[in-house]
């Protein structure tokens, strides 16, 4: 078991290396000079040279690349070009907000999506099913940043129920701040999860063991939840994993729309500033998160499906 996990982690190393390399190359191909971005158009050539030397930008590209790889291995992404803050502490400051938003959105998505899917499957081709189908279609079709802007205008600006930006301080204030962005992200998730639940549950409800459960004298709620949904969780797990990844990347746009701190906003800001270290650090963290989520899904599989456990 531990060996399996370690192997899976080892599998991820080439992936992460590829991501690192791509980011490094992409940043260097993009036009724009980080020194000018940091010091401004009016900076003197000596100042620029001095800045480049300090940030390690004066050495050949291949050397920069190896310095970057080496730094990554020792979890040192350097300092922000803009204000000299270590990249690691920038990440540490922003990451919790992104994780908080992702988890909140995921919870709402699951809590809304799965019951919707069950309702649709049980009432197949009837009114509730059609309702869920329309909801899913709308959810799929609306881009989340647009929905976010809409919510912002209606619920924050016009009705004043929610704050317009920021992440808040203290638990209650943070909850208050997270509701709108989380709901925005979650509605799209719920549409996806609802659809997925409906499909997998319908598939499972046609299986022989469902008939066995009914033959035993189990009543419908028990048949559906205990026997049906429990088995539908197997295909659902994959979908939930993918959905979690999508939520993570979706939070980038949402952080921007709601002007929330987080890795997404940090990345976008540093891109406009050509702040290589911050971009590279942020991407590495996101890549690591993706790998971790995939690993987590593997673990969930083992819990959910006893057939995997034994092998």
């Amino acid at each position: 078991m531990t060996r399996y996990m370690l192997l899976r982690l080892a599998d991820a190393i080439p992936t992460i290396w590829l991501v690192l390399t791509l980011v490094f190359i992409a940043m260097r191909i993009l036009p724009g000079d980080p020194a000018i971005a940091a010091l401004g158009d009016a900076a003197l050539p000596e100042q620029l040279a001095d800045f480049r030397a300090k940030m390690g930008l004066d050495v050949p590209l291949w050397q920069q690349y190896f310095n970057f790889l080496y730094g990554t291995l020792s979890l040192d992404f350097g300092k922000s070009y803009m204000n000299g803050t270590p990249v690691l502490s920038l990440i540490a400051r922003n990451l919790p907000y992104t994780i908080e938003l992702t988890i909140a959105a995921m919870i709402i998505g699951v809590v809304v999506g799965i019951p919707l899917g069950v309702m649709a499957a049980v009432n197949r081709d009837k009114l509730p099913d059609t309702g869920v189908r329309i909801f899913s279609l709308v959810g799929y079709a609306i881009p989340d940043f647009y929905l976010g802007a809409l919510f912002l205008i209606v619920f924050a600006l016009n009705l004043g129920w929610f704050p317009i930006n920021g992440a808040g301080d203290g638990f209650l204030d943070r909850v208050h701040h997270i509701i709108l962005p989380a709901v925005t992200l979650a509605l799209v998730k719920a549409a996806f999860i609802g659809r997925l639940t409906r499909t997998s549950l319908l598939e499972v409800l046609g299986r022989d063991y469902i008939r066995t459960a009914r033959a035993k004298g189990a009543r419908e709620p028990r048949v559906i939840y205990r026997h049906g949904l429990r088995n539908a969780l197997l295909p659902l797990t994959t979908g939930l994993g993918l959905s979690l990844l999508a939520t993570l990347s979706g939070s980038v746009a949402i952080e921007l729309v709601f002007n929330r701190p987080g890795i997404g906003r940090m990345l976008i800001q540093s891109m406009t500033e050509r702040d290589y270290g911050v971009i590279q650090g942020g991407v590495v963290v996101l890549a690591l998160l993706v790998v971790l989520i995939n690993l987590l899904m593997d673990l969930v599989y083992i819990v959910v499906d006893p057939r995997i456990r034994v092998k």
């Binding site: 063991y209 008939r211 066995t212 033959a215 035993k216 057939r307």
Partner: protein, 353 residues
């Protein structure tokens, strides 16, 4: 159906004791209401308390649907019971409130299915699955339940039952899974056990073991059995009475001995001739020519007419009702009815039909 103009009317074979299960003129349709397909058509039979009845027929004869109808487990939509009665201990299950059916299923009538590989929930331990069957109908403590599960696993011959409570279905072979299914079915001492092709998916030696187990269950728990099979040999092994179904109808009903000695319906005769025999000299096994008509395609006349070697003019026009051939045997065949009538009138057999 028009009233038969001749002969003894079909007499119910029930003795003085009221039958445990009485199915009367059961019809089941599938598909859209505008153009329904009738897969079970006016099926009647009885199972006495402690008795064992087999339903035999080819694939598509409606035997499985009949058994599911008794359990109230016909998938609806697309299926529905359009007429008839299913009386269990005098109560018509079809009129019973839907919410009360689960109380009867598993407790009074239990069922095992053809596919032991897929009929068990893959993510529940077998201990939990058998335990659920008990928990749904009987109140007992955890320890008592556990003891009962072990007892049941012992009854069905699972080695080391205590150690296998936490095992999952995929850790069992097909035969063992069918044993688990049987343990689950008899968990609450049901009065009637419906077994739908319980041995079809198993290889021959395991088949014999499972049939032996069904005998044992019957002996020890005094459970009545309704066995569905396409295999007359299996039916003969377990059952006292046989119902032969063809294209959704009962074509013959008799005790096992009569079915084998004096089959009265041409279809039953065909079935018997198709059983391979060791001492047979023929090189090619007999087969009934043609194939079963698609469900719902027979609009009038006897459904077997196209394949029947003995058919007469009337067969294509009118569905024969069940005629009593003897005290314990009935068949739906004009030719047999004619012969029986002739015999009873003392005319030479086979002169007219």
């Amino acid at each position: 159906m028009t009233e038969a103009p001749v002969l003894v009317h079909a007499q119910p074979t029930a003795a003085a004791i009221r039958p445990l299960l009485k199915v009367e003129k059961l019809s089941v349709e599938f598909g859209p209401k505008a153009s329904p397909i009738r897969v079970v058509n006016g099926v009647s039979f009885e199972v006495d308390a402690g008795g064992s009845v087999g339903i035999v027929g080819e694939s598509g004869s409606g035997k499985s649907i009949t058994s599911l109808a008794v359990m109230g487990l016909i998938p609806s939509p697309p299926g529905r019971i359009v007429e008839g009665r299913v009386e269990f201990e005098g109560t018509n299950l079809l009129e019973l409130q839907k919410s009360r059916l689960p109380d009867i299923r598993g407790r009074d009538i239990a069922m095992i299915f053809q596919e032991p590989m897929s009929s068990l929930n893959p993510v529940m331990t077998i201990g939990d699955q058998i335990g659920e069957a008990i928990k749904l109908h009987e109140k007992m403590s955890r320890e008592q339940r556990r003891e009962r599960i072990v007892e049941l696993l012992k009854l069905v011959g699972i080695p080391n039952p205590e150690g296998r409570l936490g095992a999952y279905p995929h850790q069992f072979s097909g035969g063992m899974r069918q044993r688990v299914m049987i343990a689950m079915a008899v968990a609450c001492n049901p009065k009637l056990l419906i077994a739908d092709e319980p041995t079809t998916a198993l290889d021959v030696t395991i088949q014999a073991q499972v049939l032996e187990l069904m005998h044992k269950v019957r002996r020890t728990l005094n459970t009545s059995i309704l066995l569905i099979s396409h295999d007359l040999g299996v039916i003969a092994d377990v059952c006292e009475r046989v119902v032969v179904m063809y294209a959704g109808r009962v074509v013959e009903e008799a005790d096992v001995k009569s079915i084998f000695r004096t089959p009265s319906h041409p279809y039953t005769r065909g079935l018997l001739q198709s059983i391979p025999r060791l001492n047979d000299e023929r090189t090619r096994l007999y087969q009934i020519p043609g194939s079963v008509p698609l469900a719902g395609t027979v609009k009038k006349g006897c459904p077997f007419v196209a394949r029947c070697p003995d058919r007469i003019g009337r067969c294509a026009e009118e569905m024969p009702p069940m005629f009593a051939v003897s005290k314990s045997q009935r068949a739906a065949c004009w030719v047999t009815a004619g012969a029986a009538a002739a015999a009873s009138l003392g005319i030479n057999e086979g002169a007219t039909a």
